[in-house]
C-alpha cells in the first residue's frame, strides 16, 4: 500500500505543474497575443473610458434607450447585511432567479413586469421581456422584444419609428450559419447605434 504513496504525492505535484501552471499560463500568453480583445473581456471604449463589454448586458432604465431583460442579480443590502437587494446586471455576481414554474414569487414578479409593459403598449408582451435569464447578464433581447419597444424609444427621441426600426434591423444578429442558436439583438450595441444616429442629450 505504502509503495503507492510516493507516486500519489509526486504525480499530484507534477500534474499540478503541468495542468495548473504551464497550461493556463501558456493559454493566457497565446490568447493575449492572438485575440487580445476577446481575452480581456470584449470591452468597449468610448472617449478613452470603458463603458462596458459587448457580451455583458447593462441595466437600461431611461425612455430613450432599449431595455434588456429583467435580471435576477442581487447585492448585499447596505442597510442590513443579512438581506439582499435587487441590483440588475451586476456583472460580478451572475445568477438566475432559480424560481420554479409554480412559484408565487415568480408569478408576482412577472405580473409586475407585464403590467408595467402593458401600460405603454397594447401589443402582446414577448416572453423574453418578462423573464430573467440564466446568468442575469443576458446582453440580448429577441427581435420581437425590440419591436415591442420601438414606438416608445422613437417617441422619446423624436425619431420616426421606421428610422428606429432600421437600426434594430442592423443590430439584429441572425442564426449562425443560418442554423445555430436564435436571432437576437444586442441591446448595448443597439443603444450605441441610436446614440450615434441621434445623441441622447
Amino acid at each position: 500500500m505504502l509503495r503507492q504513496l510516493r507516486p500519489a504525492i509526486m504525480m499530484m505535484v507534477l500534474l499540478t505543474v503541468i495542468t495548473g501552471i504551464i497550461y493556463p499560463f501558456a493559454i493566457t500568453g497565446i490568447g493575449q497575443a492572438v485575440f487580445p480583445t476577446q481575452a480581456n473581456g470584449s470591452l468597449i471604449d468610448k472617449d478613452g473610458k470603458v463603458i462596458g463589454s459587448s457580451l455583458i448586458g447593462q441595466n437600461f432604465t431611461g425612455e430613450k434607450y432599449f431595455r434588456g431583460r429583467p435580471s435576477a442579480t442581487t447585492d448585499t443590502d447596505p442597510n442590513d447585511s443579512t438581506k439582499t437587494i435587487s441590483v440588475p446586471y451586476k456583472a460580478d455576481a451572475s445568477t438566475g432567479s432559480n424560481l420554479g414554474p409554480t412559484s408565487k414569487a415568480l408569478m408576482d414578479r412577472v405580473k409586475g413586469d407585464v403590467d408595467t409593459l402593458k401600460a405603454g403598449s397594447d401589443q402582446p408582451v414577448p416572453v423574453d421581456l418578462v423573464t430573467t435569464s440564466g446568468s442575469g447578464l443576458d446582453p440580448d433581447i429577441t427581435p420581437a422584444g425590440a419591436e415591442f419597444q420601438v414606438t416608445r424609444v422613437a417617441k422619446a427621441r423624436g425619431m420616426s419609428p421606421d428610422a428606429v426600426r432600421r437600426l434594430v434591423a442592423q443590430a439584429t444578429e441572425r442564426r449562425t450559419f443560418g442554423v445555430l442558436g436564435e436571432a437576437h439583438v444586442n441591446v448595448l450595441a443597439l443603444n450605441l447605434a441610436l446614440d450615434a444616429a441621434q445623441p441622447a442629450k
Binding site: 497565446i30 456583472a91 409554480t102 429577441t142
Partner: protein, 574 residues
C-alpha cells in the same frame, strides 16, 4: 418544437456519431501504449514523470493495487485542494483580495472536484482567487476526469483479458490520459473559446461606466483554460456562478454547440474503445445504441415541454408562441441566444453525463422537463455518462441484463465470452444499491430536519424537488443543481458524504468485478450463447435499466415533479 430546433439537435447527433470511431481508435492506441502522432512530444515528458514518481511503467497492477493507487491519488488531491482553499488569502494571484474559504465550504468543494462532481456551494466570481481556479480547480478538472477514464480502462481490460492477474497500471493510464488525450484537445479548445469571446487574463475585474452613467464591475479571469477542460472532462464546475449560461463562459451559439459535443464525445468514444479492446466493435455499438435511444427519449420530452411554456404566464397575456423574431416557450432562466431547443438539448446532455454544467437554470424548468435530468442522473449517468464512469456504469447494467436473460432461459450467463458467476453479479448489485441508498436516504433525512429545509428557495413540491435533485446530483457526481438551494453546515457536510459514496463506493465493487473477470478464461461462443450485439440485447438492456434504475426512484419523483405538474395544471401556486 420547430423544424430548426430539430435540425439543430440532428446536427449535434451527427457530430457525435462521426466522432466515435476516430476518437475511439486514437484512445485505444494511447491506452495500449502504441505510438501516436503525439508520442515524439509526450514520450519524454512521460518518462520524466515516471522517474520522478518512482513508477515502473512496465509493471502492471492487480485490481486491488490499482484501486489503492486511485484512492491514494484522490486523497492526495483532496488534501492539497483543501489546503489551497484555506490558504487562498495569503497565496498570490488574488487581485480581488478574496478571503480564505471557511472549513466546511473548503471540504465540500475539495470533495466535489476530486470526485468529478463539481457541485458548487459558492459563486466563483465572488469566492475563488485566480490561483484557486488554476492550480486548484483546473488541475482537478483534468485529473478527476483522467481517473475516471483510467478506471474504465481497468474494467475494459477485465473483459478483454484471459486468465490474467493484472488490469493495468493506474499511474500509466492516468498520465497517458492527461498528456495524450485531455491536454491536446483542451489547448485547441481553449483557444477556440477565446476566439469566440471567453476571457483569458490574469488582470483584475474591470470597472466600467455604463451608457446611463452607472458603475458596473465586470468579472473576468483565466476563464477559457478552465472552461475547455470543464466540458471535456464532464466536470461542469463553472468559473462563474452563471456557469455556461454566462456570456463569458459560453458567448455564442457556436461555442454552445461545441460545448455540448465536447461533453458527449469522450463518453461516446469509450464505447468504441470497449468494442475494439474486446475484439468486436459491434459490442461497443450495441452499448452506444442503448445510450443513444435513451438520450433521444429524454431530449424529446424536455424540448416540447419547455417549448410549451408556462400556462400561468400565458394567462397574463404574455406571448409564449414561437414566431418570426420570437423564441417563445419557458424563457425563465434561459438565454436569448440559445433559445428553447439549445437549452433543452444542453439540459439533457449535461445530465445524461456527469457533467452538470448548465446553460439554463434547471430550477426554473417546467415540472416534467425538470424530471428528466433527475431521471437521467438517477439511472446512474450511463447515457454516455461521465468520462469513464458512464461506460463502467453501463457495463454493470449489461452484467445484470445478461444475468436476467440467463435466468429466463436457464443457462449460465456470459458476456463478451466471460462466464458471469455469483461474485460478479453480487458486486454489480452492490454498486447499483449505492445510488438509492445515498439519494433516497439523505433526501429522507433532509426533509425532516430543520436544517435541511432551512435554505430552500422554493416551497411546495418544487422545494422537495430541490432536495431530491441535490442528493441525486451529488451521489451521481453530476454537479448541476436546482440551484435555489443555499449552503449551510448540514448541506455542506451531507453533500460531501453523498459525493464520496457515489464515486468511491461505486468504483470499488466495479474494480473487483474487473479483477475477477480478468482471471477468467474466454469461453468460445456456442449455439446457446445469448448474443449481446444485436437489437434484442439493446431492448433487454434498456428494459433492465428502466426497471432496475427507474422504478427505485419513481415514488420520490411522484412526490416532486409529478405532483408539481398536477398542481400547476390545477392552477396552484406555492
Amino acid at each position: 418544437m420547430t423544424v430548426n430546433g430539430i435540425l439543430q439537435i440532428a446536427i449535434f447527433c451527427i457530430a457525435i456519431i462521426a466522432l466515435v470511431r476516430p476518437l475511439g481508435g486514437y484512445m485505444t492506441r494511447v491506452f495500449n501504449g502504441d505510438k501516436t502522432f503525439l508520442s515524439p512530444v509526450f514520450r519524454p515528458v512521460e518518462r520524466v514523470l515516471y522517474a520522478a514518481s518512482g513508477v515502473r511503467p512496465e509493471v502492471e497492477q492487480s485490481w486491488r493495487v490499482y484501486g489503492v493507487a486511485m484512492l491514494l491519488f484522490s486523497l492526495a488531491g483532496s488534501v492539497s485542494l483543501y489546503a489551497i482553499f484555506r490558504l487562498q488569502d495569503i497565496l498570490p494571484l488574488n487581485p480581488q483580495g478574496f478571503p480564505a474559504l471557511p472549513p466546511e465550504l473548503a471540504l465540500n468543494t475539495a470533495i466535489s472536484f476530486v470526485t468529478n462532481t463539481n457541485w458548487q456551494f459558492y459563486s466563483g466570481e465572488s469566492t475563488m482567487s485566480y490561483l484557486s481556479q488554476m492550480i486548484g480547480l483546473t488541475v482537478h478538472n483534468f485529473v478527476s476526469a483522467a481517473t475516471g477514464i483510467a478506471l474504465a480502462m481497468a474494467i475494459i481490460r477485465g473483459f478483454a483479458r484471459r486468465s490474467a492477474k493484472t488490469v493495468g497500471n493506474f499511474w500509466v493510464d492516468l498520465t497517458r490520459c492527461v498528456l495524450y488525450i485531455l491536454m491536446p484537445v483542451a489547448i485547441v479548445y481553449a483557444l477556440f473559446l477565446i476566439w469566440q469571446g471567453v476571457p483569458q487574463t490574469l488582470a483584475a475585474y474591470v470597472d466600467a461606466t455604463t451608457l446611463e452613467g452607472a458603475k458596473q464591475t465586470i468579472a473576468v479571469g483565466p476563464v477559457a483554460s478552465q472552461e475547455a477542460i470543464k466540458m471535456l472532462g464532464t466536470n461542469g464546475g463553472g468559473f462563474f456562478n452563471g456557469n455556461s449560461a454566462h456570456p463569458f463562459e459560453n458567448p455564442t451559439a457556436l461555442s454552445n454547440l461545441i460545448q455540448m459535443i465536447s461533453i458527449f464525445s469522450m463518453g461516446a468514444a469509450l464505447t468504441n474503445v470497449f468494442g475494439r479492446m474486446v475484439g468486436r466493435e459491434r459490442q461497443g455499438w450495441a452499448l452506444f445504441g442503448v445510450m443513444g435511444l435513451l438520450f433521444l427519449a429524454g431530449t424529446f420530452i424536455v424540448y416540447p415541454v419547455e417549448a410549451g411554456g408556462n400556462p400561468a404566464i400565458a394567462a397574463m397575456g404574455v406571448d409564449q408562441s414561437v414566431g418570426p423574431g420570437q423564441v417563445g416557450g419557458n424563457m425563465e432562466g434561459k438565454e436569448v441566444r440559445f433559445g428553447i431547443a439549445n437549452s433543452s438539448l444542453f439540459t439533457v446532455v449535461t445530465t445524461d453525463t456527469s457533467c452538470g454544467a448548465v446553460n439554463n437554470m434547471h430550477d426554473s424548468l417546467m415540472p416534467l422537463a425538470g424530471m428528466i435530468p433527475l431521471i437521467n442522473i438517477q439511472l446512474g449517468e450511463i447515457i454516455f455518462g461521465g468520462v469513464g464512469s458512464g461506460l463502467y456504469g453501463m457495463l454493470m447494467f449489461a452484467i445484470i441484463a445478461v444475468f436476467v436473460a440467463g435466468l429466463m432461459v436457464g443457462r449460465t450467463p456470459e458476456y463478451i465470452g466471460k462466464k458471469l458467476e455469483a461474485r460478479e453479479v453480487k458486486m454489480s448489485i452492490l454498486a447499483i444499491l449505492i445510488l438509492p441508498l445515498s439519494i433516497l436516504g439523505f433526501t429522507a433525512i433532509a426533509t425532516v430536519v430543520p436544517q435541511g429545509i432551512a435554505t430552500l428557495t422554493n416551497s411546495g413540491p418544487h422545494g422537495f424537488s430541490e432536495i431530491l435533485y441535490a442528493y441525486t446530483s451529488a451521489t451521481g457526481n453530476n454537479g448541476s443543481a436546482f440551484a435555489g438551494l443555499g449552503p449551510n453546515m448540514f448541506w455542506q457536510v451531507t453533500m460531501a458524504i453523498a459525493m464520496f459514496m457515489g464515486r468511491f463506493l461505486f468504483i470499488v465493487p466495479m474494480l473487483a468485478v474487473a479483477g475477477s473477470l480478468a482471471a477468467k478464461k474466454i469461453v468460445p461462443p456456442s449455439a446457446g450463447t445469448f448474443p449481446t450485439d444485436n437489437g434484442l440485447f439493446v431492448a433487454l438492456l434498456i428494459g433492465v435499466i428502466l426497471i432496475v434504475g427507474g422504478l427505485t426512484f419513481f415514488p420520490a419523483l411522484a412526490l416532486g415533479p409529478v405532483v408539481e405538474h398536477l398542481a400547476m395544471q390545477a392552477g396552484s401556486m406555492f
